[in-house]
Structure formats: C-alpha cells, structure tokens
C-alpha cells in the first residue's frame, strides 16, 4: 500500500527542512511586506519574472541559509565542516549572486561555484534552493487572491516552475500544486496541463498496483506527464514539497515509460 521509495532518513531530513521553511516564512513575513497588485501584472506570464525588484532581501537570505545549514548539519553531522567552510566564506556579493541564480534555477552556476571552492557538487545549489523556498512561499501568499485568474501555459503562475504535481480534492476537483512555492490553482480535469490538449483519447492514466492515492496522467500529444495525488483519500494535509517527494517513484515510472521533458 505504500510504494514510497525514499529512505526514512532522507524523508525525515526533508520534513525537518519543510518545518523550518514554515518557521522562517512566519518570521520573515513581518519584515518583508510584499504587496502585489493584479493590475500591474500580465496574466499570461508567471508573477516572479515580472517583479520589478527582487522579492528576496540579501540580509534575510543569509539568515535563511544559516538556518537551513543548521538543520542539515544536525541531521548529517559529517557535513558540518564543509557547511561551515561554505557559509563562512560567503561574501555579500556572493549572496546577491546566489539569490539571482537560485531564482532562475541556474545549476551550472552552482556547480562551477562548488568546483572553485572545492565543495561537493550538489551542496551549494541544494542550500541555495532550500534557503530560497520561504521567500517563494511568501510570494505565493501575496499572489493567492488573484492567482486563479492567471492563465500561464506549462508553468506555475507564481514562480514559473514546470508542472509536475496535481491533487484531486473532494468532488474530483483538480488543483495543480507547486512544490517550489506551494501555490495551488484550479485546473480543468480533462486537459493536458503542458500542451492544453483536451481530446480525451490522447490522455491516459498510469496507475501503480496497490497504490490507490497516486497515479500518473500522461499526454500522447506532447509526451509529458503529471503526477496526480488523491488528497481526498489522505487523513493529513501535506505540503506540495512532501507530496512531490513521496511520489518520486511515479517520476521513475513515467520516465521509464518514455514520458517527460527531453524524452
């Protein structure tokens, strides 16, 4: 009944980070007064790239990095030395650069950064992205009143993350759910979210034996997939980031079947 493939240890680390995100979001909320007006925004482009200023102040971002670092070194003490070396050498200039590159998800930049500073290749980007998440959540909060009016094709209307997760709520309503900024918005049930094709004969489901809560929706037109979680069946409300992680087996299945980006 539980096909989860993520190890207990890693799941606990991620849950701790997610909890930390919530704490940080609450703390930064007062200091970061994001006010967005729908009239100034184009409804066909995600909100994040349309912002005139950065939604992430350098000072708070540094605090966020510090907090995520402490969670990481608490769960994986062997990373402690590497982490403190990384954060101790971060200049204010680096911080501003990190914000810019993590917002645009520039893995290449962080890999070069790791090489230059003799760090594990995954570490700088992981830290940068996790530290950015609370700000993404705050942005999503500010967009919530009008996000359902946005019509952005293929990506999250708030942060621009490509679609990969949706939840089916009561009465079969389908909500797309962004694991990066936790934005949720209603979508048509029978339509590919990637290409907009709504011919039912081109849309299929792949179900996993004995997993009644999650399945894949695949589109034969654009060869993309979307993970569907029937949250109606679950007792607890879970964040998109956690649902995304717990259904990672679906990504393996979909990609093995030849669906997804670049397949």
């Amino acid at each position: 009944m539980n096909p989860n493939v993520v190890s207990e240890e890693y799941l606990n680390l991620q849950k701790a980070i997610i909890n930390k995100h919530d704490v940080l979001r609450e703390r930064f909320q007062a200091e970061l007064n994001l006010h967005l007006s729908k009239d100034e925004l184009n409804e066909e482009i995600p909100v994040l790239p349309q912002l005139k200023g950065s939604p992430v102040p350098g000072e708070l971002y540094r605090k966020s990095i510090k907090e995520i670092e402490s969670v990481l070194s608490e769960h994986q003490p062997e990373l402690g030395e590497e982490l403190s070396r990384l954060t101790a050498n971060l200049t204010d200039e680096d911080i501003l650069k990190w914000i810019k590159e993590s917002v645009t998800y520039n893995t290449a930049y962080f890999q070069t950064f790791a090489e230059k500073n003799e760090l594990s290749a995954w570490l700088p980007h992981f830290l940068a992205e996790q530290a950015l998440r609370p700000f993404m959540h705050l942005l999503a909060q500010a967009c919530r009143p009008f996000i359902n009016e946005f019509e952005v094709m293929g990506t999250c209307p708030c942060c621009g993350e490509p679609h990969r997760l949706a939840k089916i709520e009561n009465k079969g309503r389908k909500f797309l759910y962004c694991p990066r900024c936790e934005t949720e918005w209603k979508q048509r049930r029978l339509q590919c979210v990637h290409c907009g094709d709504d011919r039912h004969e081109h849309l299929f489901y792949i179900t996993i034996k004995e997993d009644e809560t999650a399945k894949l929706e695949v589109c034969e037109t654009c060869n993309n997939y979307l993970k569907l979680v029937e949250t109606k069946k679950l007792l607890e409300k879970k964040t998109a980031a956690l649902l995304d992680l717990e259904t990672i087996h679906l990504d393996f299945v979909a990609q093995e079947e030849g669906y997804g980006e670049g397949q």
Partner: protein
C-alpha cells in the same frame, strides 16, 4: 490524537456506495435478506454487514413528508460497553479512537453483542481450517488498516456527497456545528448526536430529526452490569480464583497431614475386630 467520523445525514442521498465500499474493502460476504416492504436492504448491522443504510419515510410535525437516510455502523464509543464486558480483553480502543476486536482473542461469548447500547456488534459464523464452525464478534473497525496507514476509511473515501467525512474530532465537531447552522431552516429539529452517556462517540451524527426517529437511543449509557463486571467483578474474580486455589492447596496438604485414609483403615480394622 482523537479522530472521528462525522455522518451528515442531511447530505446523504442513500446511494449506498458506503455499504458496497465496506463490503469490498473488508472482504465481507453478501448476505441477501428477504424483501421487508421498504427500500432498506438489511434490517440492521450484523456480523456480515458492518454498515447499513437506514431509510425512513417520515411525516413531519407540519404534515409534510421527508425521506430520512442514515449511514448506520459501529459508533466507536469513547467509553465502549463491548470493551468493558469482554472477558478475553479481545476488544480495545486504538490510539486514533476506533474500537477494534482482536479475532485471535475473541471466543464468541456474545457478551459484547448483549451489551452494545446501539445493537451493532453481532456474531458471525466462520469455518476454521480444521473444518470446525465457530462464531466470532464482528463489527465496523473504522477501516483500522487504512487509517493507520494514513488513508481515509473506505466509506468516507467513497462518499460522493461528503455525507461521511473523517478527520480530527475537534475539526469534525466544528464542521458539524457549521452545518447545523446551515440546515436549521429546513430541519428545525436538526441536532448533533454525540451522546455524553458513553463519553461521546467516534462516529457521530448531524441528524435532521430527533434521535428516536432514527431508532437511536436518546441517552445511551454503558450498562451498569458492564461497569460492575469489568471494574469490580472481573478483577475480584481473578483475586478470588487465587483464594480458592489456595483453599484447595491447603485442603490437600491438611488432608495429607491428617491422613484420613490411614485413620479409616485403622478404624476398619477395629470394626472388623469388633465383628470378630
């Protein structure tokens, strides 16, 4: 954390999907009953049918007609009479609040069936591997396996009208209060049924009419005999068992010491000598 199932009868359309989902998930056999003159499929819950959709044709006080439906299943009482009377301690309350029967421990004594304030738990017949026919107490478990795995119970999961919802008891209470305000206009007698006599239940109702209309007891209580049995008689019985064992033992030892048989033999001999 205490969980509860809220049955909002005012939303129910009597589709009976909950009955089918229950049979399906719990792998219960079909049990056809003779037509009893109503649309209701079974007269009441029993060992093979853990939930029954009750259908009532009801004339309101103002002379109007209402169809009243109620998903009927184990109430999962906070203070469960069945648990109190079970001599084998086969019935227990889990950490989530649902009452379950351990089939390995149940001996089919039927004390629970006689003491259930809602007349829900019943015996069902089974044939064991050895070909022996036995009876075991059976009732709704609130899909214990599912809820322990973080899933909704089968009936709540299938309910398309959200007439059956499952979640934290305090949240369900709030939901029930909110719904009560919404339905008051249409059903002036509407009320929440979460009887205090059994300390509240983990299946509770938003009823459209008085409980009696739905054949529910106004103020169910754990039978006094049940309380006496579990809280006093049973522990005392165990203590008394020790006392009698001691009595038997001491009796055996004193008998041995006095060696009555020996005396009898001697006596016999004297008798015989007397005769001689």
């Amino acid at each position: 954390m205490s969980y509860a199932k809220l049955v909002d009868v005012t939303k129910c359309t009597a589709c009976r999907a909950c009955m089918v989902a229950c049979k399906n998930w719990n792998d219960l056999p079909s049990d056809s009953q003779a037509y009893g003159g109503t649309y209701q499929s079974h007269t009441k819950c029993d060992g093979k049918t853990w939930n029954v959709l009750q259908m009532k044709e009801y004339e309101t006080s103002s002379g109007g007609f209402e169809w009243l439906f109620r998903h009927q299943a184990c109430m999962h009482c906070e203070e469960a009479a069945c648990e109190k009377v079970c001599p084998e301690s086969a019935i227990s309350t889990t950490s989530l609040g649902n009452v379950v029967i351990d089939q390995e421990k149940c001996v089919g004594c039927s004390y629970c069936t006689q003491n259930c304030p809602f007349d829900v738990v019943e015996l069902a017949e089974y044939v064991t591997e050895d070909g022996e026919t036995v009876e075991r107490a059976q009732k709704c478990t609130m899909c214990d396996g599912r809820i322990q795995a973080g899933l909704q119970p089968a009936c709540a999961d299938i309910c398309g009208m959200d007439a059956i919802v499952f979640g934290k008891k305090e949240e369900m209470k709030k939901l029930a209060e909110a719904r009560l305000n919404e339905v008051k206009d249409r059903y002036p007698n509407a009320q929440i049924y979460d009887p205090a006599g059994v300390d509240g239940t983990h299946t509770f109702y938003l009823l459209a009419e008085d409980p009696a209309v739905y054949d529910l007891p106004e103020n169910p209580k754990v039978p006094v005999s049940a309380v006496v049995w579990k809280d006093y008689a049973q522990p005392m019985g165990k203590a008394l068992l020790g006392v009698t064992t001691m009595a038997v033992m001491t009796g055996y030892i004193t008998n041995k010491l006095f060696n009555k048989e020996g005396h009898a033999e001697e006596g016999g001999q004297t008798d015989e000598t007397d005769k001689e």
